[in-house]
Symmetry: C2
Subunit: 355 residues, 2 copies
DNA sequence: GGCAGCATAGTTAACGTTTTCTACGCGGTG
DNA sequence: CACCGCGTAGAAAACGTTAACTATGCTGCC
């Protein structure tokens, strides 16, 4: 009681003293895993109230084994894509009684490694990595090593929206059908009658997201016996600015394109802006489609045709699988479906002397 | 070494054994706060590498006192407003060598209290609460009590974007000039010549954000000797749907309004949609302004005039002030400025026989 | 040559919990 | 009446780390 008055953080011992019992009994009342007589329980509870006692989670974790913590390593907190996955992770973690650590690396791969190390110190039960990464052999090997490191300390690496890193590495993988979505939306454009479709964002062939989406684009062409014209394929990053700039480039080329597929919705939004500026109507003069189905897409004018990713479910599944990896031991690799969302930015190409 | 092979998590003792030194020496090498001979240091570092050792953050916190953790309690992770503040919090926390815990309460006040309790268990150095709250006397008193609770365990309550809870409560407050921004944007509309300006989102007079913004709106009218017409003031929530619905209501009333101020940008986006549907041009027929300056606003058509809030700086300042509250002891209450961002959705009212 | 003082290393006791293991009554059974 | 078992409680050890002491050689000064 002296401690409580002195303002120090009350401990189990202080509560025990105040209630006239032993520390063990206090622990048992709080945990409720051992029979304690009603009168004792009440005295303890009373003392807990009086002292405004809260348990020390670190001390509990030290002896109890588990920190009940899930870590979430992501490129950025802003941006609808990551935020929604993050929301899924946070919700599922909360639902499972875990608290959620979050770190951002802003695209810096070394920083990402540092963060994983930090999470290993924190003894997170699961470390969820979000977003596409490089797929160079070195990087994959490094990931596999990290997976083993984490496993050794009882933690679990979870790859969310990123392809697996080999069968031997102990990791949970929750991805979505990136290539299939790109195939589907390209297929849709082709079925509308488009034959000259541009692709914006094909840079970094080693980036898993980039290559999967481009591959779906290419496969849809092959399926219809069409060739992909290299003149219609340009690079760039995932942001709006890139879509805007690359569209200008394409327009300057006079390629005869009747549709553009942006590698992300943000890119597509830049495409729309550039076309608008050039006096071209969407979808009458040119069709535009994106990828991700971020909330913004429905509000663009025209509303954007795009590929829907189950963002939130991706995050939830990641946590669920990782925490119950004993039960779900069989399928620690989940592939969620994507589907095309048809809105107003796509239409059949108008008959005109294109080219 | 036997342990390492057995797969258990290596401890300082294991490293000490492998390096042929004592645990203390290992600790000293890792902390670098005590002279250790080069050869010893190398042997220890070598053993750390070999065993793939990471320190146990819980154990360190237990004895060291600090968890180096900042908690971040927010309504939602999605939505540009919270995400940007969150980004600021995370960045500053990282910059200060802290890790960041994040929890969402989805607007449930009881859940918020639970989370604060949880963060108290976690021994977070600072607990940052984001977003407006109720300002009923009970709620304020409860907050003050929480502030004291947290202080007692060495933690610090930080109110971010929420007004202070009284001078006696030990809390750090970082807010922005909500009322001033509303005043400024309303003043701007009036100076353009608007006299009949509607306000959408005035429900919940006890909500701090709502009341501050409405008060700024009203003060601007008073400053120009104008009255606020109750017919032009409607309630609703902070989302797009509300803006859409309430605009329909206003339009049905035939109020002769020439401008609408939405309580948030999301509301303004709903307003734009409803006006577009009604065949009204913005800003020719009617001007629209919002509040928050979320990234979406620049992409709406027309681009939205709004009030800019320094979201990210809000989050950064929150963490900075709380962690260095000894240095910044004087000003633990910071008020950041807001300013009007003029875009394309506002213009002088057209001369026409408006009712 | 004795001793102060420094550089380096080890011992031991915390930190706040939980988890054995042990102890004490007491009612029921053989 | 001795003893088993059950319900309840406490004592002590353990978790992995750090900090406060203590210990050992050395260098160098008087």
């Amino acid at each position: 009681m002296a401690r409580a008055i002195a303002g120090g953080r009350p401990t189990v011992k202080d509560v025990a003293l105040a209630a006239g019992v032993s520390a063990t009994t206090v622990s048992r009342v709080l945990a409720g895993n051992y029979p304690v007589s009603a009168s004792t329980r009440n005295r303890v509870l009373r003392a807990v109230q009086d002292l405004d006692f809260v348990i020390n989670a670190q001390a509990r974790a030290l002896v109890g084994g588990s920190t009940r913590t899930v870590a979430f390593v992501v490129r950025d907190l802003v941006g609808p894509l990551f935020a929604y996955i993050g929301q899924g992770v946070e919700q599922q973690a909360t639902a499972e009684g875990r608290v959620c650590l979050v770190c951002t690396h802003h695209g810096d791969a070394d920083r990402e490694l540092e963060l994983i190390e930090l999470m290993r110190e924190q003894q997170a039960e699961a470390v969820v990595l979000v977003g596409g990464g490089l797929r160079t052999p070195e990087h994959v090997e490094r990931m596999a090593q990290i997976a083993r490191s984490l496993e050794r300390v009882g933690s679990r690496l979870v790859l969310c929206g990123r392809p697996p890193i080999g069968p031997d590495a102990p990791a949970t993988v929750v991805e979505y059908d990136n290539e299939g979505g790109a195939f589907a939306v390209t297929n849709y454009l082709i079925s509308l009658g488009h034959r000259r479709i541009a692709f914006i964002g094909a840079a970094e062939p080693n980036h898993t997201t980039t290559s999967a989406r481009f591959e779906g684009f290419a496969r849809a062409h092959r399926a219809h016996g069409l060739d992909v014209d290299d003149n219609l394929v340009v690079g760039g990053t995932f942001d709006r600015e890139s879509g805007y700039r690359q569209t200008k480039t394409l327009l300057a080329r006079d390629t005869g394109m009747t549709a553009i597929l942006g590698i992300t919705d943000m890119v597509a939004s830049g495409i729309l802006a550039a076309l608008h500026e050039a006096g071209l109507r969407v979808p009458e003069d040119i069709s535009v489609a994106g990828y991700d189905d971020i909330p913004l897409s429905a509000d663009l004018s025209p509303a954007l045709t795009t590929v829907h990713i189950p963002h939130e479910e991706l995050g939830r599944a990641a946590v669920r699988l990782a925490l119950h990896r004993d039960e779900y031991a069989l399928d620690q690799h989940l592939m969620l479906g994507t589907h095309v969302v048809i809105r107003d930015s796509t239409a059949p190409p108008e008959e005109r002397d294109a080219r």
